[in-house]
């Protein structure tokens, strides 16, 4: 008999499905070129969150939707919360490390105006200090 052993293929395919299930929420962030600030400590472990991405040149995005400008941020966050059943979703601000703090604070205030109850600042994990 020349039957092909399909077990490895099914094995790999199932691993692929599991990886996709795990990484799908992580991949729902905007594809903007940002340099996150590095940090050693880590705090929040939420796997489902709303991301606000602030690029070095003024680009703003909520999850993977790029907005026309910062003035549209509060409305976009409000729409995102309206589309979800949970109102305690963590909002993670992913800002470029070169941005002035004023821009980040404005984004955090807009997120609060949009209904965010829990806020976090994204960092790039830098190992042990």
């Amino acid at each position: 008999m020349t039957r092909i052993n399909v077990t490895p293929i099914i094995d790999v395919a199932l691993v692929l499905v599991i990886i996709l299930l795990i990484t799908a929420p992580m991949l729902s962030v905007a594809d903007l070129d940002i340099e996150l600030p590095q940090a050693h400590a880590r705090d929040t472990e939420d796997t489902v969150f709303v991301s606000i991405t602030l690029g070095a040149h003024g680009e703003v995005a909520v999850d993977d939707h790029v907005l026309s400008g910062p003035q549209a941020l509060a409305a976009a966050v409000r729409d995102r919360f309206a589309a979800d059943d949970r109102d305690d979703l963590l909002v993670v601000v992913r800002a470029d490390s070169r941005l002035p703090h004023a821009a980040v604070r404005a984004a955090m205030n807009a997120a609060r105006d949009g209904g965010a109850l829990r806020l976090a600042v994204a960092t790039r994990q830098g190992g042990q200090p």
Partner: protein, 137 residues
Amino acid sequence: MRRWNESRESAGGTSDVNLTPLIDVSLVLVVILLLATPLAFESSFAVRRAEAAARAATDENRTARIEVAVLSADSVRVNRAVMPSADLGRALEPLIERSPDGVVAVSCRDSVPHGSFVAALDAIKLSGAQDIAVTGR
């Protein structure tokens, strides 16, 4: 022998395993891992509402409050003492040990780069702060 080979080919072709689907799936796996790896190294700090911190200031003993102001990329103020950013952790540890709730209120000047602000948050967290409240609107 020749007849055996002929009959084998005519019965079902060669018996080589088709590796194409396996390689296909494996390459997709590699691409997904390449995309997801930078995101897997992302983390975040939770920050409390500024309003809540302001309320806490009126309720709690003011002497127990810890206030950090990020003045520039390399200088901070802890309560009333101005110091280099590098000394922030060392200055905070005894204050946090004495603090009843471990809450640190942080403010930052508008022009300070976000990276310096996060470096201060990192030092505060590593000093043992339970909660970080970002003030200023």
